[in-house]
């Protein structure tokens, strides 16, 4: 088993509404990277890629790609600024995007 430099997950945009989604268990696309399937090895990544490409082929999602994460307290957190913004919403409009669906921190 060869380790990846960084843990990876798969992401895409949902075909119908363009919403950012991540590949979760059982080939389901979920709306939060927290519950994405994390690959730590090349073998795991290739297996996940097959599931991600099926999502593309079956027209659930558009243009899936892999993205790096860090795992914090067992939860996948996007490693790049771009993917953090994509997972949350525009930093200038906290009332929009996925962040708007979360309760605001006290």
């Amino acid at each position: 088993m060869s380790d990846l430099k960084q843990p990876m997950i798969f992401t895409a945009n949902r075909l119908l509404d363009g919403e950012a989604v991540w590949l979760g268990a059982n080939g389901r696309w979920v709306e939060n990277p927290d519950t994405a399937i994390v690959s730590h090895t090349k073998e795991e990544l290739e297996a996940t890629r097959i599931a991600a490409e099926r999502g593309d082929r079956e027209n659930h999602v558009v243009e899936p790609y892999e993205m790096a994460v860090t795992v914090e307290n067992g939860i996948a957190v996007p490693a790049t600024n771009r993917e953090r913004i994509r997972a949350a919403g525009p930093t200038i409009r906290l009332d929009l995007g996925k962040q708007a669906k979360q309760p605001l921190a006290a």
Binding site: L15, L16, G18, E58, N59, N81, P90, I92
Partner: protein, 560 residues
């Protein structure tokens, strides 16, 4: 303004029906994303970070109140209650569902609007001076030329699969308010020594990763030959433009690599071959199109307005707004209003549905039912009576649209940046918001005077940073946002590409860096009237560099 004829109506309607079918086939799986992507792009549909984005064309930035109300309706019904006016005089919606887009396009078609060719490797929405038909310095209204180009370029079979996107701008006065020389083709309407109308033609301008100023390829082109000459340019580009490398595919690279003289030889040869043929523009046809842009029914008014003068004397806020945002009109007793969609701390160019409704009402009531979108992301009321300005101002104050900053440092251009855009490498809007708040004091802005600040969130330069007197380019530097400053750029008739001043700054430092630049300028300008650009051109980069990177500054050491 131009009204659709039956052909236009049928064409746009058929195009919407076609796209509806294509969306259905995409959703059913009949079309793959590879098949569908070029189709959606040519209908203005992008896929961005959080959702699809729909870019709606506003040809040469001109629209009426019914159309503006429709833009508000779309923002409200299908999007998140706002839209973003862009540097191509278009509007973008950031959140539409793919399944709703055919309905949106149907709604747009009902008011003679569409999203055709707002993306893809084709001729994009033709832009023009936003003061067209209103400004006193105009040789002729550029919009009839832009409309003729729109008709010619829409689904022109030779121009739908160009090596890369292609942008055309038209101005009608020696003053360039449309960044014309930064376009693939730039046209300036002018008269020759015999008093005949024609066009000065520039080719090969552009921004992006390789910014270039357009080169004059024809000093005077008779009006009748406009389409033949443009088609000749497009044919040469289609033949020789590079398709092997998208970063070298724009016509500016072809002009640069081939040299203007050789390219001109090819263009002129093709032009001679096709001129006087089907692309000839007879006077009668030109007149027909120009009739759509006939002057509104202006009243004969005195040059001075008592109501206007009284409001200036009695209301400091109004006086400031009028001094900055009302521009001279060609007719006595009228003015041109810039509604700066740049409130303090707001995202440049973002307007809510309610604000769009207000602007539509103002256009309908006070400006002969006409509005414009400027490439500087503002909305223009082109023909308002001076008498009506106090009432307009009061309405704008109520709608939070009365920023008195047209042409000043907080009247910035900023692209959507990494908050929305899939191509961006850094955020633009938070930088704009920070600068907007820092320089919110109008007295300070007035003291600084005219200063064009433009921000892009990646090297593609949608925020026109190359043309900024101060340009800011957001980059990703090992995972951290970093902002590079360029100085001395200009998008006016003295067009210039800004020069990189030195190492970039972090998100926390870029605001301070802009403050330093402004303070340096204020300290070295010769008179209060010497603008930032004039001062920069006089003294060069050295004093600004010295202020930004003093010997003890870590950036200085980094640069060493």
């Amino acid at each position: 303004m131009y009204r659709y004829d039956q052909f236009d109506r049928d064409f746009v309607k058929a195009r919407v029906a076609q796209f509806r079918d294509q969306v259905e086939r995409r959703v059913s799986g009949e079309l793959s994303e590879d098949n569908f992507k070029p189709i959606r792009l040519q209908n203005g549909v992008y896929l961005q970070l959080h959702a699809y984005m729909l870019r709606v064309a506003i040809p040469y930035g001109t629209l009426n109140s019914t159309q503006m109300r429709m833009l508000a309706h779309i923002a409200r019904k299908y999007d998140r209650g706002y839209g973003h006016f862009t540097t191509r005089q278009n509007i973008q919606y950031n959140w539409p569902a793919l399944s709703d887009i055919p309905d949106i396009l149907d709604d747009l078609a009902s008011v003679e609007m569409h999203a055709i060719q707002t993306s893809g490797n084709c001729i994009r929405n033709v832009t023009a001076d936003h003061f067209a038909g209103a400004s006193g310095d105009e040789v002729a209204d550029p919009r009839p030329y832009a409309e003729i180009l729109r008709q010619w370029s829409t689904v022109h079979p030779e121009c739908l699969f160009l090596p890369r996107k292609f942008k055309i701008a038209v101005i009608g006065s020696p003053k360039d308010r449309a960044a014309m020389q930064f376009h693939d083709i730039g046209l300036e309407v002018r008269r020759n020594d015999d008093g005949e109308l024609g066009l000065r033609v520039y080719v090969g301008g552009g921004m992006g990763r390789t910014p270039m100023i357009g080169k004059m390829i024809r000093d005077f082109l008779p009006e009748a030959d406009m389409l033949a000459y443009c088609e000749a340019i497009l044919r040469v580009y289609n033949t020789y433009g590079r398709r092997d490398n998208k970063y070298k595919a724009r016509i500016k690279i072809l002009v640069h690599e081939t040299g203007l003289d050789e390219l001109k030889k090819d263009v002129e040869a093709e032009f001679e071959r096709i001129r006087g043929g089907v692309l000839d523009l007879p006077q009668e046809d030109r007149d027909d199109i120009a009739a759509y842009f006939a002057e509104p029914d202006f009243e004969q008014l005195p040059a001075q307005s008592e109501a206007f003068e009284k409001a200036i004397a009695g209301d400091k806020g109004f006086a400031r707004w009028a001094a900055q945002n009302v521009h001279a009109h060609k007719r006595d007793g009228y003015g041109i209003v810039t509604i700066a969609v740049k409130g303090t701390g707001e995202a440049p160019g973002d307007a809510t549905d309610a604000q769009m409704e207000v602007m539509a009402d103002l256009g309908e009531r006070y400006s002969f039912d006409e509005l414009r979108i400027s490439h500087e992301q503002n909305v223009i009321l082109p023909h308002v009576k001076l008498d009506d300005l106090p009432a307009i101002y009061a309405t704008l104050v109520e709608a939070k649209l009365a920023a008195s900053n047209a042409g000043l440092i907080t009247d910035m251009i900023a692209c959507p940046g990494l908050d929305y855009c899939a191509l961006a490498t850094a955020r633009s809007i938070p930088v704009a918001q920070d600068i907007s708040k820092r320089f919110a004091d109008l007295d300070r802005q007035k003291e600084i005077g005219e200063l064009k600040l433009k921000i892009s969130g990646c090297i593609n330069a949608c925020g026109h940073h190359h043309a900024g007197n101060i340009g800011i380019l957001g980059l990703d530097r090992r995972g951290v946002e970093n902002y590079q400053i360029t100085l001395g750029g200009s998008g006016d008739e003295t067009a210039a590409v800004g020069e990189i001043i030195g190492p970039g700054f972090g998100a926390e430092q870029i605001g301070d860096a802009v403050e330093t630049l402004v303070e340096t300028y204020l300290g070295l300008r010769l008179t209060d009237d010497e603008t930032f650009l004039q001062a920069y051109r006089r003294v060069g980069a050295a004093p600004f560099k010295a202020s930004l990177y003093p010997p003890s500054h870590p950036k200085k050491q980094e640069a060493a």
